[in-house]
Each structure stands twice: as structure tokens, then as C-alpha cells.
């Protein structure tokens, strides 16, 4: 019985894997060099319907239309940048999986560095604060402290 169950599970899992392969089945370009360029661009463009997939990965109908459009632009002689520009002119920077560096996105790009810097500063301050009392304990007593210690030892009581 466990064997049968494993077999069924395996068939099921492999069946699912098969559907993943079936996504990008549209007609490739005749020239493999151009097709390779198109594929690279497909991976950089975000699918508008499913939002966190590239149009290469998405099987939404719009994603397919955009894949074909990219191929058509390349076929027409557009450079990679021109092709991407063409889509961005219609859908905005939003379609770029890697957003461009500009005033509106500067925090997005510098954010991680900023947080890392804050963390380093925080850890540094934290560490230094923990060090201070230890240093204070090891330091020799000042004149005042020695005088007070002496008076306490002599009198057996404070002051």
C-alpha cells in the first residue's frame, strides 16, 4: 500500500511539474540569437495581471501578447533598450522588475544600505556602552574615592 501511495504521489507531482513546462509555448523567433534577446527581455518585464511574475513565467493572456510584442519589436530592428522603452511608455516603470534609479525610487535602492548602516551604528553604540562599566571597574580609584573608602573603613559607617 505505501508503495502505491508513493507512486500516486509521484505521478501527481510529476504531472504538476509538466504543467510548469507548458507555460512558454508560444512560437519562438526563427533567428535563435534574436529569440535569446527576446527571452532576456521577457524575464525583465513584469506581468501586469499576476504582478509578481515576469511575462516569461506568466501564462496570462496579456503576458503572452506582450511576449509576442517584444518579439515583433526585435524583429522590426529595435534595440533591447528601445523594446523595453516601448513597453514602459505604455505601462510605466511599474512593468520593470528592476526599478530604475530615480528620485522616486532612491529610498528603495539606498534603503538596505541605510538600514545596514543604522544597524552597525546601533551595535557599535551598544557594544561601547557595555564596555564602559567594565572599564570603570578596572580603573584605579580616584583620590576622592580613596579618601571616601578610607573614611568608610575607618569609621565602619558612611560619612
Amino acid at each position: 500500500m505505501p508503495f502505491m501511495r508513493n507512486l500516486i504521489t509521484m505521478v501527481f507531482v510529476l504531472g504538476l511539474a509538466g504543467s510548469a513546462w507548458a507555460v512558454a509555448v508560444d512560437k519562438p523567433m526563427d533567428d535563435p540569437v534574436l529569440e535569446a534577446r527576446a527571452r532576456v527581455i521577457h524575464k525583465q518585464l513584469r506581468c501586469l495581471v499576476c504582478q509578481n511574475q515576469s511575462i516569461e513565467d506568466s501564462n496570462a493572456s496579456l503576458a503572452r501578447d506582450l511576449r509576442i510584442l517584444v518579439r515583433d519589436r526585435i524583429e522590426a530592428g529595435d534595440s533591447d533598450d528601445e523594446t523595453i522603452r516601448y513597453i514602459v511608455d505604455r505601462y510605466g516603470d511599474w512593468v520593470l522588475l528592476k526599478p530604475p534609479v530615480k528620485s522616486g525610487t532612491i529610498f528603495l535602492w539606498l534603503g538596505p544600505v541605510l538600514f545596514l548602516a543604522l544597524a552597525v551604528i546601533f551595535i557599535f553604540l551598544w557594544y561601547r556602552r557595555r564596555q564602559t562599566p567594565v572599564a570603570a571597574v578596572n580603573a584605579p580609584l580616584s583620590h576622592d574615592e580613596q579618601a571616601r573608602l578610607k573614611s568608610i573603613l575607618d569609621n565602619g559607617d558612611r560619612g
Binding site: L48, V49, S61, L62, D65, L69, D89, R90, Y91, G92
Partner: protein, 196 residues
């Protein structure tokens, strides 16, 4: 010895109190972000075409229906362009509203029939009513892409100069019409500017 002297909290410095506030501050910060996030609509991607001329296009009419749709048709008066399809379920939800707009004769509504089949689109209009002045058949969806369409229905408000003033994503509901579109339409028709 008093209890106070044994209490480690009694030697609390202002700095330590400040440190105790850190978790609260972090919680408030995250809470603030989440609260703002509640009202965001990530599915609605703002159009980059707002304020720009309508794309250049020339679409044929649906079979058996006069008047296709092209860029030049959108100049001369304020109009709405509604992207629809017979396969689009939520288009049915907004359809009665466009029928009402047509009956009231406030603003011409043009249709952009997106990736549909001619007979199916005609059948749909016969069944639910035809509120459109002109309808362009965008069979392969290329003109839709030029308009930045990514979901149907979408509705564009076009100024008399043929410029895209605003874009409504998803079905237009009574409230969208009353609070967003109609005020803008009225302002534009009076020769003013509008934003929405």
C-alpha cells in the same frame, strides 16, 4: 535595607527608559505601515498616459455595426472610452450605468472591444443593450496595449482636445460615476480642467 535599594529598576537611567521604548516604537512603525497598506490598492497600476494625447490608432467597426473608432474621433468633444469584451464578466456589472449615461445624453461613450470575436460582441450588445456611439474592434489586443490596458473593464475620460484625463480600472460603479467621473466631465465640458 529598604526594598527600593534592592530593586534593580531604581538605578534606571533616562537612557534605559529610552531603550525600553524601542519595541513600542518599532510596533507603532510597523502598525503604521500596515494601516496605510490597508487602503492601498496594489492591483491598480497608475497609468502613465494621463495628460497625454490618445494613442494613434484606427480600429474597424464590429461586423454589422456602423462606425469604427480611431484617434481623430476622440477630438472635438469630451468623451468616455470604455474597454469591454463579451467574455468579461464584470463588464456586465457596469453596463447598465453606461446605458443610463446614454439615455441621459450627458457624454458620448465609445467602446474599445478588447480581444473579442465580432459575432460574440454583437450578440452581447444585443442582449445587454448598446450604449456606445462608436465601437472599435481590437481583435489582437495591440491597441489595448497602446492604451496601457491590462484588465477589462477599464474606462478612460478623454478631453475635447483628445487627451487622456483619467483612467478608471475595473467596473464603473454608481459611486465612481457620481464622485469621480461626472464632476470631471462637467468641468471639462465647461472648458475647465479636471483631475481624477
Amino acid at each position: 535595607m529598604s526594598i527600593e535599594a534592592n530593586d534593580p529598576n531604581s538605578e534606571e537611567t533616562p537612557r534605559r527608559i529610552w531603550l525600553r521604548m524601542v519595541p513600542l516604537a518599532v510596533a507603532l512603525l510597523i502598525g503604521g505601515f500596515l494601516f496605510v497598506g490597508l487602503n492601498l490598492r496594489p492591483k491598480e497600476i497608475p497609468s502613465v498616459l494621463i495628460g497625454k494625447d490618445v494613442p494613434t490608432f484606427d480600429l474597424p467597426a464590429l461586423p454589422g455595426r456602423p462606425k469604427g473608432l480611431k484617434s481623430a474621433d476622440l477630438k472635438g468633444q469630451v468623451s468616455l472610452v470604455n474597454v469591454f469584451a463579451s467574455w468579461c464578466v464584470s463588464c456586465r456589472a457596469e453596463h447598465p450605468l453606461f446605458m443610463k449615461l446614454k439615455a441621459q445624453n450627458i457624454v458620448p461613450v465609445h467602446g474599445l472591444n478588447y480581444k473579442d470575436e465580432g459575432p460574440a460582441a454583437i450578440g452581447w450588445l444585443q442582449r445587454y443593450g448598446d450604449p456606445y456611439d462608436r465601437v472599435g474592434a481590437d481583435l489582437n489586443g495591440r491597441v489595448g496595449i497602446d492604451w496601457g490596458v491590462y484588465g477589462v473593464p477599464e474606462t478612460f475620460l478623454i478631453s475635447a482636445e483628445g487627451r487622456i484625463v483619467c483612467k478608471h480600472i475595473g467596473p464603473v460603479m454608481e459611486r465612481d460615476l457620481q464622485e469621480k467621473l461626472l464632476p470631471a466631465i462637467t468641468a471639462l465640458q465647461k472648458g475647465g480642467t479636471a483631475k481624477c
